[in-house]
């Protein structure tokens, strides 16, 4: 195959724009992206490259009786066909537990599990050759009921230790407390998908030293490097990873997909190998959000003060553990929401099953309980005859509150204010006069004149832990270099932190401009030649990598002051950097950075670690598990056509505390995008799994919100700085996804009077057909 264009590779983001923290400068990658020149992982190309493909199990649970690749290998244009026997290192990996085979050995545990891989000249040759691989399966009964998996020890064990991944209990106050008003409910949440647009893809290039370079889209380069190197049987330094353009992530790129496979094929063939999943394969190739079943009981005084919460929740982790332990941890510790609850008894189970593997997705572990407890809060408000917003405000936690694990919230927590602000926002006008059919639920597909349409209003409020929890030493590393280029001082920021669309590249520049007082800042491509940055997840990168960039910049500034002290014979005390100059404490400009530095390069590498957290007590679940919380609240206004079962979200308003908006426009972008994903879960998004098999692995059948589904939003951003975080920031990315779902569900209930104990709410749930 010939191609006239040069190979694409990730670019240095050298485009420099102005603006420090608190401003909203343009993205340095924006121009490349609108020109179509930004190299995403599926755009990579290399002379002489092969295409990789994966054979996946058609069965959710089966024993592999025979596996023969000889016919596939004999196909013209096929260069290698590999099975688990060709994995030179350990054929097992995992984020929390080591339980996932790189290629299945004697058993498959979910539909879509990788069984064999091959490399060929053309993607179609590769696809055809997959059909020539002979696999004989002994089909086994799948385990599909997570509640049963948690309690029934007679079921077959999917893993050596059984089918329980994690159980966590939390006891607070009097777990058996009684109350005057009691409401209970059983809530279910379907399996949501991250549905990022850029498919799993990457290019593995073998090196002369026996190692491999992998260019890919991921959320955490170093954790991929560690897992991949172990499977390849290579030292980590021989498996070098470079981030290419990432087409969205939302948690779906935390687990490995094609990393080990592409490297195995490249090392075996000695040629570059590109792997790109198609959309169907993408649905099988990454983990999803945990579906859950939750039993909740709330007790309150007749005045509306919460007395207790009791909950049992089951999270279906699917075939492999992935992030299930964390989902159980977050799910239980956040189980009562942003409310003061003196007494609680909470139990959470995360289990293995033969359903698709579930792991990280935006709002990890908080989405499920928030839907349940916010449904309960409305039910309680109804039982008390109270306004739902007032009930929330009455019970809202605040700075100094003690949460369900006994941890004192020692930072601002303006939960009641968020709800009050939403309550004070104007409502959209009632529909009057002639009906524009496009404004009705279902839009142009609504065949009525709006006779069956009723309106409802609902609230949703959430609390989400920011960054990694339960004793994990979570950190990031940044290298910052300051030197004179073309007569001007230029700062270069180098981290391994993944830009997945959220705008971290912009923010790194903003921080460096603010700290070093230089207008020109470039961002080096993220790769593993610099220290670990941790994952672009848990709303943590602005906080943690932002902190690392700040620390490295301040170290660079200190080195510059020391240099100025020596050269100028002035005390360094009180010096600062501004406008490319070194300024004394009294404001006197001492020297230009360009003159001071000359040929000298100042480079410093620093880490940022967040405050220490602690594991939960295994018996009582008590402990200071979390670093910080994010809070957001939504108010949804919906129109529901009760005859057709169609829902239109008319308006979706959000109030969120972000601590400090380092980039206000990016904050709005996160709130708007996150809210759309929450809307999707409320009314349309679900991977439908029947007997362990996925029924809708395509964008035809897995529906994500379009521009017609997203209503206008009013957004109120609060900035209450967290005294413990860099610049006072609070993680922003996840909360809006979480609180949007229950707000919409509650609004649909308010409109219809129906129980609706499951999301997504489908037309048949409304019409009862």
């Amino acid at each position: 195959m010939t191609r006239s264009a040069p190979a694409r590779s990730p670019q240095d983001l050298a485009e420099t724009v102005s603006g420090g923290i608190g401003a909203s400068p343009l993205r340095p990658d924006g121009t490349l992206k609108v020109r179509g020149e930004f190299a995403y992982s599926s755009d990579l190309w290399h002379e002489d490259m092969l295409w990789g493909a994966t054979l996946r199990s058609p069965h959710p649970h089966a024993r592999i009786v025979r596996l023969d690749v000889s016919r596939a290998l004999a196909q013209p244009g096929v260069h290698a066909v590999l099975t688990h026997e060709d994995v030179p290192g350990e054929n097992i990996y995992g984020l929390k537990y080591q339980d996932t085979p790189a290629l299945a050995e004697d058993r498959v545990r979910f539909q879509g599990e990788p069984v064999a891989i091959l490399a060929a000249d053309h993607p179609e040759i590769a696809r055809q050759a997959l059909k020539e691989i002979e696999v004989e399966y002994e089909v086994l009964e799948p385990i599909t009921d997570p509640e049963r998996a948690a309690h029934d020890s007679t079921l077959p064990k999917l893993h050596p230790d059984g089918n329980l991944v994690r159980y966590q209990r939390i006891l607070k106050g009097d777990p058996d407390a009684a109350a005057e008003v009691v409401v209970s409910g059983v809530y279910e949440i379907g399996m949501q998908d991250q549905a990022f647009l850029g498919p799993e893809s990457g290019l593995a290039v073998p090196d002369d030293d026996g190692g491999v370079d992998l260019y890919l889209a991921t959320q955490w380069l170093h954790v991929d490097q560690r897992q991949t190197a172990k499977a390849l049987g290579l030292p980590p330094e021989k498996v070098r990873l470079t981030l290419s353009g990432v087409g969205g992530a939302f948690g779906g790129r935390e687990d490995l997909s094609m990393q080990i496979h592409s490297c195995l094929l490249a090392l075996r063939t000695g040629r570059p190998v590109k792997m790109v999943y198609n959309r169907e394969e993408s649905f099988f190739g990454h983990v999803h959000r945990h579906p859950a079943k939750m039993y909740y009981e709330h007790g309150a005084t007749k005045d509306g003060d919460l007395v207790y919460v009791r909950a049992r929740m089951y999270f279906d982790g699917g075939a492999y553990a992935s992030k299930t332990p964390v989902v159980v941890g977050n799910g239980t510790t956040l189980s009562v929401g942003p409310y003061n609850v003196p007494n609680a008894k909470i139990e959470g189970w995360g289990v293995y099953s033969n359903n698709p593997t579930c792991g990280a997705m935006r709002g990890l572990g908080a989405v499920q309980p928030t839907y349940a407890y916010e449904s309960q809060m409305d039910k309680l408000a109804a039982a008390l005859g109270m306004d739902p917003a007032d009930l929330r405000i009455r019970n809202a936690m605040s700075e100094g509150s003690t949460n369900v694990t006994g941890q004192v919230v020692d930072f601002p927590a303006p939960v009641g204010e968020l709800v009050q602000r939403l309550k004070d926002m104007p409502l959209p006008p009632e529909r009057t006069g002639a009906v524009d059919i496009r404004d009705l639920p279902g839009g142009a597909s609504n065949v009525t004149h709006g006779e069956g349409v009723v309106r409802g209003i609902g609230y949703g409020v959430t609390i989400k832990n920011i960054s990694y929890a339960e004793g994990l030493d979570d950190y990031s590393t940044a290298r910052v270099r300051l030197q004179v280029i073309g007569g001007e001082p230029v700062a270069m920021v180098h981290t391994a932190a993944a830009e997945v669309g959220q705008g971290l590249v912009t923010l790194q520049q903003q921080i460096a401009r603010t700290e070093l007082g230089v207008p020109r800042v470039t961002v080096h491509p993220a790769d593993t030649s610099v220290g670990d940055a941790g994952s672009s997840s848990a709303s943590r990168q602005t906080y943690i990598t932002g902190g690392a960039v700040r620390n490295a910049c301040r170290a660079v500034a200190d080195a510059v002051y020391a240099l100025a002290e020596r050269r100028l014979a002035r005390s360094a005390a009180g010096m600062s950097l501004a406008g490319g100059k070194v300024v004394a404490a009294d404001g006197e400009v001492l020297t230009g950075l360009a003159e001071l530095l000359g040929e000298e390069i100042v480079e410093e590498t620093r880490e940022y670690h967040h405050r220490k957290t602690y594991p939960l007590d295994p018996e009582t679940g008590q402990g200071d598990a979390h670093v910080q919380y994010g809070f957001s609240a939504h108010r949804a206004v919906v129109d529901v056509d009760v005859e057709l079962g169609l829902v239109k979200v008319v308006q979706l308003d959000c109030a969120q505390d972000v601590g400090k908006a380092l980039n206000p426009d990016a904050v709005l972008g996160q709130i708007q995008g996150g809210s759309a994903q929450g809307l999707g879960l409320a009314v349309m998004e679900e991977i439908q799994v029947v007997d362990g098999k996925v029924r809708n692995p395509s964008f035809t059948d897995y529906l994500i919100p379009t521009v017609l589904d997203m209503p206008p939003m009013r957004i109120d951003v609060l900035e209450r700085p967290d005294p413990h975080s860099p610049y006072g920031v609070r993680g922003v990315g996840e909360p809006p996804t979480i609180s949007a779902t229950p707000a919409i569900a509650n609004a649909i209930r308010a409109a219809t009077g129906l129980e609706l104990p499951r999301v997504p709410i489908r037309p048949e749930h409304i019409t009862g057909t």
Binding site: M1, T2, R3, S4, A5, P6, R8, S24, L26, R27, D29, G30, T31, K33, V34, R35, G36, E37, A39, S42, D43, W45, E124, Q194, A195, F196, L197, G198, P199, G245, V246, G247, G248, A249, N278, R279, R438, V500, G501, D665, A666, L668, G669, I671, Q672, G673, G674, S675, A676, Q677, S698, F699, T700, I704, T706, V707, L708, M710, P712, M713
Partner: protein, 156 residues
């Protein structure tokens, strides 16, 4: 087979094209124009939208042979050299780009809307963009960008 297309005003030729290949594959993998994106390859997401003889289409649904002798304009052909098209400028300015994977397809769709409609209503904009999925932005800033580009065109 051999496929001849005029892409962004330039005559291009691709040899040894397998008959099942899509126009999207030919553009991306044979002509080196990877701007059009491969997100669903089913015509559902709009990320691969290009002009074919002036009409926006999902290039993943066009067989390479169908493009023989026709004119294709991709996202790479929207800018005039170094000068961005107004719709590209407004996407950058309004923060309508996050991960950016949907951006090339959205730009072609929005470019077409702004070219044929002056002062589009919100409903018209939403209807025009309904075939382009975006997973990052929640669409609000994309709507802002289209409104800005339309306003600038009207005032130009």
């Amino acid at each position: 087979m051999r496929v001849n297309v005029v892409v962004n005003g330039e005559k291009r030729q691709a040899d040894n094209v397998w008959e099942g290949e899509s126009l999207l594959y030919v553009l991306r993998e044979r002509l080196g124009l990877a701007g059009s994106k491969n997100a669903c390859e089913q015509g559902e997401c709009g990320s691969c939208t290009v002009y074919l003889d002036g009409v926006p289409v999902c290039s993943c649904l066009v067989a390479a042979g169908q493009a023989e002798g026709r004119e294709v304009r991709t996202v790479e052909g929207l800018a005039d050299g170094d000068k961005l098209d107004p719709i590209q400028e407004s996407f950058v300015e309004c923060g309508a780009v996050q991960c950016g994977f949907c951006t090339p397809g959205l730009l072609v769709t929005a470019h077409d809307l702004v070219a044929r409609t002056t002062d589009p209503s919100d409903a018209e904009i939403r209807e025009a963009l309904a075939g382009n999925l975006c997973r990052c932005t929640g669409y609000e800033k994309i709507l802002d960008a289209v409104r800005l580009a339309a306003a600038r065109k009207e005032n130009a």
